[in-house]
């Protein structure tokens, strides 16, 4: 293979050449370091510094692959497909950036929130798990090796179960939530690895680019097809694709606030990326079973998710739980974008991944701040706080508007693109007119559930004996950074749109996008 020959002579000379590895290695090293130092005071600074370094690395990676092309990094000089390869192109650089950016912004918030919600003896272990979770998420996105994806998926999942269970100090139900998540997550991971096994059996390789190449050569057979089914179901569980979403509301509701913020904006997104990678790059979109799966299974399920989850969200009386259900609905939008299977659709899905990450992280932080001050997220507990915590509630309003998709916020643009994608396909199949109507109607349901919160915060009388005051600065700053980005990316999308579009093009090229990219970067 011409391509691997190009990459084989990998002799990295500068630190810059090691960026793909460092992206994962920095938080990975931070985790044991935190445990070994065992110091409560050092845990947070270490976690923050390594997240910030990860963010800088991901931005640098993004800058080098922004125009297309990819960076291939081989572990220990073993050339792929035998060795493990990290392969950074526009798509995963984009997701890496989202994950590390949210991971960094959340930490200042976590500092206050964790102190309040988790017993102090657990702090250093908590941040170690946090770093492992970050490692896992970054790793499963960065790697170009299918089995390596599974390894990192498990690293992130196992640490997530621990993180969710930390909510037990506040509410014992966090333990059952974590246990549920553990069972479901393990089933998902098992399905995924069974699928990988089948692929390995059929092709004899685990390198994604090589897999793509070989599947393209030999065409579809039953093993390859069943592998596809297992992989989709396994990842569907991780993505919280309807009806595999049952673990999500509980886990998000009972996890500590900071963990919910982090997970909601990153975990499902990373799994979604892997799902896209497998659907579009490893398997071709030209395989009839891929297209069928998207149009017959993904599309209706996505629409059902958008409606049913939004509907359930409208009846919640707990702010945090409401947001969890809204997340399921929003995942529906992303899956719908994928299922529309056009450049615009994929761009919409990728853009919505980012925009929803921003808005949801912001809203969950808002919940965290309210919980810090009032002790709970039930509507009765947070009513009338708009006057007492104006900055927190102001940020919640911005996040809520972006979740609805009001013009001028980031959420609007992804919904716009989604409707546009559906309408573009009306000429070939008029059913897509219904799809576009479904999108706008379901976003009206978002108005209902978000507006309920606004009314609770601003129009209801505050609890007479509530002594809530404005949230601390360490919480307000990250919240307003995210609120600012929700507004900024709502007006000026050039930057994000171009990247998402480039990423969508890369994905749509199918396996060709992985194999014959016009250039390789960072390789001598």
């Amino acid at each position: 293979m011409a391509n691997t020959a190009l990459v084989a002579e990998h002799t990295a000379r500068t630190l810059y050449d090691h960026l793909p590895l460092l992206q994962v290695l920095v938080p990975f090293c931070a985790a044991p370091l935190i445990v070994l130092l065992g110091s409560r005071r050092l845990a947070w600074p270490l976690a923050f510094v390594s997240s910030a370094v990860a963010l800088i690395i991901s931005v640098m990676l993004m800058m080098s692959v922004r125009e297309g092309g990819y960076i291939s990094y081989t572990m220990g000089g073993w050339s792929p497909p035998l060795g493990i390869e990290y392969r950074i192109d526009t798509v995963n650089a984009y997701v890496l950036m989202l994950i590390s950016a949210i991971g960094t912004v959340v930490l200042p918030f976590a500092y206050v929130s964790v102190k309040d919600e988790i017993p102090s003896k657990n702090h250093s272990l908590f941040y170690a798990c946090w770093m492992l979770c970050l490692t896992g998420l970054l790793g499963m996105v960065a790697t170009g090796d299918a089995f390596n994806v599974f390894v990192f998926l498990e690293i992130s999942s196992l640490s997530t179960y621990v993180l969710v269970a930390q909510g037990a100090a506040r509410d014992r139900r966090a333990l059952t939530a974590a246990y549920d998540y553990l069972i479901m997550g393990t089933i998902g991971a098992t399905f995924f690895v069974i699928g990988l096994g089948m692929l390995y059996m059929a092709t004899g390789t685990l390198n994604m680019a090589d897999l793509a190449d070989r599947i393209a050569d030999q065409g579809a057979n039953r093993t390859v097809r069943s592998g596809f089914a297992f992989i989709v179901v396994g990842l569907g569980l991780k993505v919280a694709m309807f009806p595999l979403h049952l673990w999500l509301p509980k886990a998000y509701t009972f996890a500590p606030s900071a963990v919910t913020v982090f997970l909601s904006a990153t975990a499902t997104k990373a799994a979604l990326y892997v799902l896209m990678r497998f659907i579009f790059s490893v398997y071709h979109p030209d395989f009839s079973f891929t297209t069928n799966a998207l149009e017959i299974i993904f599309l209706p399920l996505a629409i059902i998710a958008m409606f049913s989850a939004s509907f359930i969200a409208a009846f919640q009386i707990n702010f945090k739980r409401m947001l969890a259900y809204s997340s399921i609905a929003q995942v529906g939008y992303m899956l719908l974008g994928i299922a529309i299977l056009t450049e615009t659709g994929l761009t919409a899905a990728l853009l919505h991944m980012f925009n929803h990450g921003l808005a949801k992280a912001l809203l969950f932080m808002g919940v965290g701040a309210l919980v810090l001050r009032t002790g709970g997220a039930f509507y009765t507990q947070i009513s009338g706080l708009g006057r007492k915590m104006p900055l927190t509630c102001g940020a919640i309003v911005v996040g809520g508007l972006s979740l609805i998709g009001v013009p001028g916020t980031a959420g609007f643009l992804s919904k716009w693109l989604l409707v546009q994608a559906a309408l573009e396909r009306v000429s070939e199949n008029s059913l897509f007119l219904l799809v576009s109507i479904a999108i706008v109607l379901s976003s009206l349901l978002a108005v209902v559930y978000v507006w309920r919160v606004f009314e609770v915060l601003y129009l209801r009388e505050p609890n007479p004996d509530s002594t809530a005051t404005e949230a601390p600065l360490m919480m307000l700053i990250p919240m307003w950074i995210l609120a600012g980005s929700c507004l900024w990316f709502g007006l000026s999308t050039d930057f994000l749109y171009d990247i998402a579009n480039q990423a969508a093009l890369g994905l749509l090229d199918g396996s060709m996008g992985m194999l014959d990219s016009n250039k390789t970067l960072g390789v001598e």
């Binding site: 001028g408 409707v419 109507i437 706008v440 976003s443 007006l491």
Partner: protein, 491 residues
């Protein structure tokens, strides 16, 4: 003079940002009401001057769009100046000054709460109206259209009573619902079909769509622009009457509803194109629906005892004049519609301010309670009378001209029944507006009503008196106004 060297775009941005400055001022000085209200007044005057600077710089030319942000390929957040938008901006910012003065009198005279929040939201609404007026493409317009909806919600819910929250919910549900479900779909569809959303002389859809898509798309726009209160999506307007009267006066007689019909005209003239509509006959059904709205809303208005509700239904009927002007698909109709934006604004704001003045002084909301009130409040009721005549469309008041132009448009297109509709509507206007004045002046005064001069505070009666005089003045400048607007229908 230094003042006039301000270039057009700077003045435009200033006009949009000054209300925001006023909002910030309201937040900052929330405790000091005199400083706060004077500061807002100053900003309002400056906003109006900025719009006048644009007028003196541009006249009735159409300027090139200037882009602020790029959103998608072919879609920008961009602004330009054209006569219809400029007219709308002049009306909104000019009447803001008067309404602000009136609002200060009303809020203080009525002991309403949360003044700072009230005026702050008011400022955001004005800023978004200016944005709507100068938007150079449908995307930008939609952006400000939605900001306007969201920012007026707290104003409608201002009192915080269960009734006002219910009203505000209806308000929001209909406006957001129609705009997202229908208008947004229409906008994106237009973008998919044409690849652009810029307002272009002669429209952008011609040659891009044929057959059933044209009326369907027009329908999505017409119903999607919920602010135009076309039946059956008109319920939000009576529901919004729970708001304090300055809101009803400026926003629900002028800014919000006019933003709706302004959008309607923009879509008709610059997205579809008058000629394209005429050629395809796609707007014929809309014309009949508008005619139905005119008559039906007038009849409902006759049965309303609550003064503000009656005025709200009257507004619904009058707004349909403008929709009708667009749907006639003739240049006279479009001109009449454009002119009616100005004339109706002047008349209806007067009526609402009078209703508010009565409420401040005597706390009366029902027409049946207003018997004999004319002796106590002669200025208020005189202003009410003049404005009623203007709404009815009698000379020498401004409201007569747009009706005349609309009738010309109906003749041009051969729709003689529409002339009958317009005449019938005038008669219905007489039937629901003049009895209020008659009851106040000529019916015997009940015992609990003062017989001698007992006017509302000056801040409450002076602004409506001024706008009533404005109705008379507009009659004599209708020609100027028509010349000013002519470029919008030129090929």
């Amino acid at each position: 003079m230094e003042f006039y060297t301000l270039d057009t775009m700077t003045a435009l941005y200033c006009a949009m940002l000054l209300p925001f400055l006023a909002m910030a001022g309201n937040m900052a000085f929330s405790g000091m009401q005199n400083i706060r209200d004077t500061f807002t007044l100053l900003c309002a005057v400056l906003t109006f001057s900025c719009v006048l600077v644009i007028l003196s710089n541009v006249g009735n030319d159409v300027t090139e769009p200037v882009s602020l942000f790029s959103v998608f390929p072919g879609v920008d957040i961009a602004f330009n100046v054209e006569p219809l938008g400029l007219l709308f901006a002049i009306i909104a910012s000019g009447l803001w000054i008067l309404t602000h003065i009136y609002g200060v009198g009303y809020m203080r005279g009525n002991n309403e709460k949360h003044h700072a929040r009230f005026f702050a939201c008011f400022c955001i609404a004005i800023s978004s109206v200016i944005g709507i007026a100068f938007a150079s493409n449908m995307f930008t317009l939609f952006l400000f259209y939605e900001i306007l909806t969201v920012s007026t919600y707290p104003l409608v819910a201002h009192k915080g009573t269960p009734e006002s929250i219910r009203g505000a919910r209806t308000y929001l549900a209909i406006l957001i619902g129609t705009s997202v479900a229908l208008q947004l779909t229409a906008i994106i569809w237009t973008y998919v079909l044409t690849g652009t959303l810029d307002f272009t002389q002669g429209g952008i859809l011609e040659g891009k769509v044929v057959g059933w898509v044209v009326p369907v798309l027009l329908g999505l726009y017409a119903f999607g622009i919920g602010k135009a209160a076309l039946m059956p999506f008109h319920k939000w307007l009576p529901a919004a009457m729970v708001a304090p009267t300055p809101v009803s006066a400026l926003l629900h007689a002028v800014a919000v509803v006019k933003a709706g019909v302004f959008t309607m005209l923009k879509v008709g003239i610059y997205i579809f194109g008058i000629d394209f509509l005429a050629d395809t006959g796609a707007s014929e059904w809309l014309m009949w629906l508008a005619a139905y709205s005119i008559i039906a809303a007038s009849i409902i208005a006759m049965y309303q005892d609550n003064l503000k509700k009656r005025l709200a239904y009257s507004t619904i009927s009058q707004l349909s004049y403008i929709t009708l002007g667009m749907a006639l698909a003739s240049s006279m109709g479009a001109l009449g519609g454009g002119m009616h934006i100005a004339m109706h604004a002047m008349g209806k704001i007067t009526l609402f301010m009078c209703a508010g003045a009565i409420y401040v002084k005597f706390h009366k909301t029902e027409i049946s309670q207003m018997t004999g009130l004319g002796r106590a409040m002669p200025i208020t009721f005189a202003a009410f009378f003049i404005a009623s005549l203007s709404i009815i469309g009698l000379p020498p008041l401004g409201g007569s001209w747009p009706k005349f132009l609309l009738m010309l448009g109906a003749v041009d297109t051969g729709h003689y029944i529409i002339i009958g509709v317009l005449m019938l509507s005038s008669l219905l206007n007489v039937a629901y507006l003049l009895p209020i004045v008659g009851r106040a002046f000529f019916m015997p005064v009940p015992n609990d009503t003062p017989r001698t001069y007992n006017e509302a505070p000056i801040l409450c009666w002076l602004p409506p008196a001024l706008t009533a005089i404005g109705c008379v003045i507009l009659f004599f400048y209708a020609g100027t106004l028509q010349d000013f607007l002519t470029p919008i229908v030129q090929k």
